[in-house]
Amino acid sequence: MAEPSELTRHIESFVDSSRSQAQQAASLDAIVHLVKNDALFIGHLVKEMEMYLTTTDNIIRARGILLLGEVLTRLSSKPLDMANIHSLIRFFTERLADWRALRGAVVGCLALMRRKSGGTVTCSDAKAVVKSFLQNLQVQSLGQHDRKLCFELLECLLECYPKAVVSLGDDLVYGICEAIDGEKDPHCLVLTFHIVEVLVQLFPDPCGPIASFAGDLFSILGCYFPIHFTYPNTEDVDMKRDDLSRALMLAFSATPLFEPFAMRLLLEKLSSSLPTAKVDSLIYLGDCILKYGAERIEKHAGAIWSSLKEALYDSEEDPKLQLTSESRDGGNQIAREALSLLEKIIIQYDDMFLTLITHDEQINMILNNTTNYTSYDEIPMQSKKELLMVGRILYVSTKASISSCNVVFQSFFPRMMETMGLPVEIASESCNSDGNCAVRELHFGCFYICMELLVACRDLILVAEDTKKQFIPTTESYFCLLKQFSTSLSKIFSSILNRSINEADHDVFVHLGVKGLQTLATLPGGYGLILKSTFDNILLRLMSIIISDFGKTLLWKLALKALVHIGSFLHGCDDSEKILSYMDIVTEKIVSLLSSDDFSMPFSLKMEAVSVIGKSGLHYMMKITVKLEDIILIKLSECMIQGNLESAKIVLHILECYSKELLPWIQKNEGFEEVLLHLVVRIWNQVDNCRSLDVDTGGKDLLEAVIKVMKFAVAYCSVENQNIIVDKAYRILLSNPSLQLKGSLLTIHMKGFISTLEVDKLSSRDEWILSLLASVVIALRAQTLIPNLTTFVRLFMITMLEGYTIAAQALSSLVNKLDLMPNGALEEAMDIIFSRNFWGSYETSPERTGRMSHGNEIDLPNFLLGAAHSELLLNHAISGLAWIAKGLLMRGHDRVKDLTMIFLKCLLSEDRMDSFSLNEGSLENSSQQFASTSVMKCAADAFQIIMSDSGICLNRQFYATIRPLYKQRFFSTMMPIFQSLIIQSGSSLSRAMLHRAFAHIICDTPLLAILDSAKRLIPMVLDALTSLSKDVSDKDVLYSLLLIFSGVLTDKNGHEAIVENTSKIINSLIALSAYPHMMLVRETAIQCLAAMSELPHARIYPMRIQVLQAIVKALDDPKRAVRQEAVRCQHAWASIASRSLHF
């Protein structure tokens, strides 16, 4: 047993109202803990608390009873014996009379009544509770929280002890009416609504107590409708208007006994002008109608129908908008709710309402009137609205069920056909000229109604097939009607599109016509409803629009959309016969559009048409790609062999379309491997076959386009197919003597090589083969085998030196992806690349041999010396090596260090040069620069190649091996090196180049890494900014560096570093604010200056005069954007400046 003193202490602490809430909660927890662990029996607790439960001090007694109640609430799952429960519930029941200590009593009752197991309250005790409740409690005079508790208790009683409460009959109902009358708190209201809902369901008897109180109860509920909810406290998210409204609705529809009151109220509110009242009435009506039963509803059917019509009519917005909008869900909420109510009613009581609809005078009149107008524009606004309303009503009632569809079709469809003068055509193959069947006059109204009926019918069949997996029997009457008229309907819809319609009507008729055709073509069920010839004619009509009417933007777009829609519909329902027609008529033709020599139609439209149609289904895309392949190859051969420039232009367009529109889609889908493999192999064959390839004009663009497609197609293929492609490419390479020779070269004979460099360019055909080979290699997967690696690497090395960047990219892809382990392929490649023989063999003068002997690495100074004749060669070598370095860096290979050192040596070569030329007087002459400026620049830009992300190769799409955080690693290894090099560097040129390289690295490093070492970097960045601003050609680098800098400036992690260098930063920003070559630099510099004004006052105060003077100059900047920034910056700094400074 627990120490009595301890228990007393806890009780004391809870009862003492001067303690803090936390203390009280803690003592409650402690007591609950004791009871839960059987250290204290509940009976013992009650005895211990006796004094507190019975004292005459109201406050202490209230706290005491509350404590007992709370303890019981927490013990809901602990078994208690029946005797205890009985005495406890008796106690609480009695205490309900004690209004001063009420809360504890209610809490205690609630806790006991809610118990589900381990001892529950008996029925007779529950009855006693209800009695006491009804006798003693004046709920509405209590506070909000107490009311809520009381309602919860009532709710619990009604739900858990229905037998006990039912016996109280009238008293109970009366008591509840009294308790809930006038409630205003939303939380309590939800409870009261639910109480009513449960209560009325307890007394279903039409002569029972509810029957006599129904009017009273409903008058209490009714005044809340429609819920007007303006709860000021928006944080109180747990209560929304919808919750309340829903609870009230359930109460409304809880018993049919409410019907006379509810229907009157709802119909009355439906005609109010308040939109929320209308919407709510419609929703409530929907619920009540379903629950009150047919007998009771029948009385109100007429009233409901006319209010619905009214609501629909009132809710229509701009009819034209509605007609031309895509979705049916358009319109406002009232219209939506009204239509969904109509649908519910028709599904539930179809006979009753369908007669109302079909015999409605207003509808019949509106339909009769439609024949008065031929043009849409003539129809007065009111009639337009009426027409739209009828259309919607008919749509919903047709779509509701098959029987309703039959009724509506029978009563309206033939009439429409008659008005339009359409003949029945079941087998109308004979009558296929448009002229015969076209109607003399257009009746907009008829068209519109027909269209609504058609769409509804299609939707109905679709839904039926979708949800119930049943096919609608072809004997239904609507089916026969539709079948009879489908052909003539299709003709009339397409004839609308033929007509020249006046401006005002144009949009509406075009929408109607295209939509009608689309609906007919998407009627489900094979050729049951619609003849094959009709279906084909529809597709032909739409295609003819695509081909010839591209001038009419709206029509063209709609027709294309309709085709896409039809295509994806057929694809979705897998209607193989129709798909065949579609393939023949649409996809074939659309592809031939691309290949045609007719340039009158803009290429962008052709491309759009092909791509959207292709994307509407796998089959279509497959067909399109197969067709395109043929065209591409025919045109390629035409332009390669015959030098046909037109063909070159077309094939260029097709390839562009391929890579821009189709390939990205294909990439997301499977199943195209075969097609793409085929395409690649055929391109290779084509290149192989034409012995003298002659593509001059536009040749470069064409090659680029082919490369793009080739890379993509190869990347899509699996390893096996890639192997096939590589083998194919390799065989073609072998059959080509000049390229094969390059591949077998072991060394470069430098002198000879240089002399041939300019003269002996690759022939056009060799260039194609090389580029294609390189693009294949770029796109390979890491697992693909390469037949003769050495040849490949050598070929690429040589061509790389000849200036083919794509060869360098291929090499970098190779070194990036080759496997390390199995056969040492990577090592092999690296050996060739770094081989001393390869690079060293340019050697001509024997005295140099001595310096060649250190290590198996590229002996660069020698190479440079040897190559000094040709800057071009050096530049090619350096940028090629940069690509290789990128490949190595991305996989995290060590050799990247060697390459980086080469670039650094190049950057520093001018420094070395001085000492070098002193030592070795033997240099041919001093004007022969060791490394010229352009080479140094190239070396600096090598870092850009290394760091930047490339879209061309070495990315995820082309399966690059990417080591996480490789950029950060490279950044952190390089920074200290650059720091010391820049400090040591003697010549200004070298330093400028070092800064350039440094800027390239920084620009592509994630900002987070830079922020970490901001302190060290800021001075370097500032120096770099200054140095870069000297050369116009560096302006882009300068701008990117400035952007990085502004990133550091605005991040709070970089704050410290910024504060330390304030004056230096401001000085260099001031200098940049006058940078003449790029507006963006000036703008950004001034923005940075404005941001600097946020720094600690003491730091920036001394700088204010300088800044303001600089900004005054910027105010006169030639560019407007800069001036605006300057004003902003001026404003920021003026407030710091002292008042005597009138800038």
Binding site: H1077, L1115, Q1130, H1131, R1139, H1142, F1143
Partner: protein
């Protein structure tokens, strides 16, 4: 009686004019000058500067009170000259000088120093028109006014809203 009331307690508030959006300039040529006096649209550059100035008495901008309109500003970039004519809300408005001072300070801060700024009360809209004009365009008096901390505080408060 201490006149603690406002001079114009119930000014008419006009709607702000929709700001014209200048068509995005093309940066094809880095070195072309966009002169301050290009076509009529350049006026906006200035208007954007001054029309946001808050009225000293009310939480409305001068534009909303029609103290300043677009047409009341003349700019000549070649001759570096700008003239602003403003219309006080009531004839005897003692705030006219403060408004004028705000305009001057704003323009001084926003224009290149080569500009000469003239600020005038629209003819016939103020009781002591000549005196106000004289005061506003006398640089000694303006400088003296800006030495007065109370005045400067007031001006700063009025200008503060423009880029808030």
């Amino acid at each position: 009686m201490v006149n603690s009331g406002l001079i114009n307690a119930n000014p008419i508030v006009y709607e702000k004019k929709e700001r014209r959006v200048r068509s995005a300039p093309t940066y094809n040529d880095e070195y072309t000058v966009e002169p301050i006096d290009q076509l009529e649209s350049f006026l906006l550059t200035f208007l954007n500067h001054i029309r946001d100035i808050k009225d000293p008495e009310h939480p409305y901008s001068l534009e909303e009170l029609k103290v300043i309109t677009e047409n009341a500003i003349e700019v000549d970039d070649r001759r570096s000259y700008v003239r602003v004519t403003f219309t006080p809300t009531v004839e005897h408005c003692s705030m006219a000088t403060v408004i004028g001072l705000c305009l001057r300070v704003k323009l001084m801060r926003s224009l290149p120093s080569r500009y000469k700024v003239d600020i005038k009360v629209a003819p016939g809209t103020h009781a002591t028109e000549a005196a106000v004009n004289k005061q506003l365009n006398d640089k000694e008096r303006v400088a003296a006014a800006l030495e007065n901390p109370n005045l400067v505080d007031m001006v700063d408060e009025c200008l503060g809203a423009s880029y808030a």
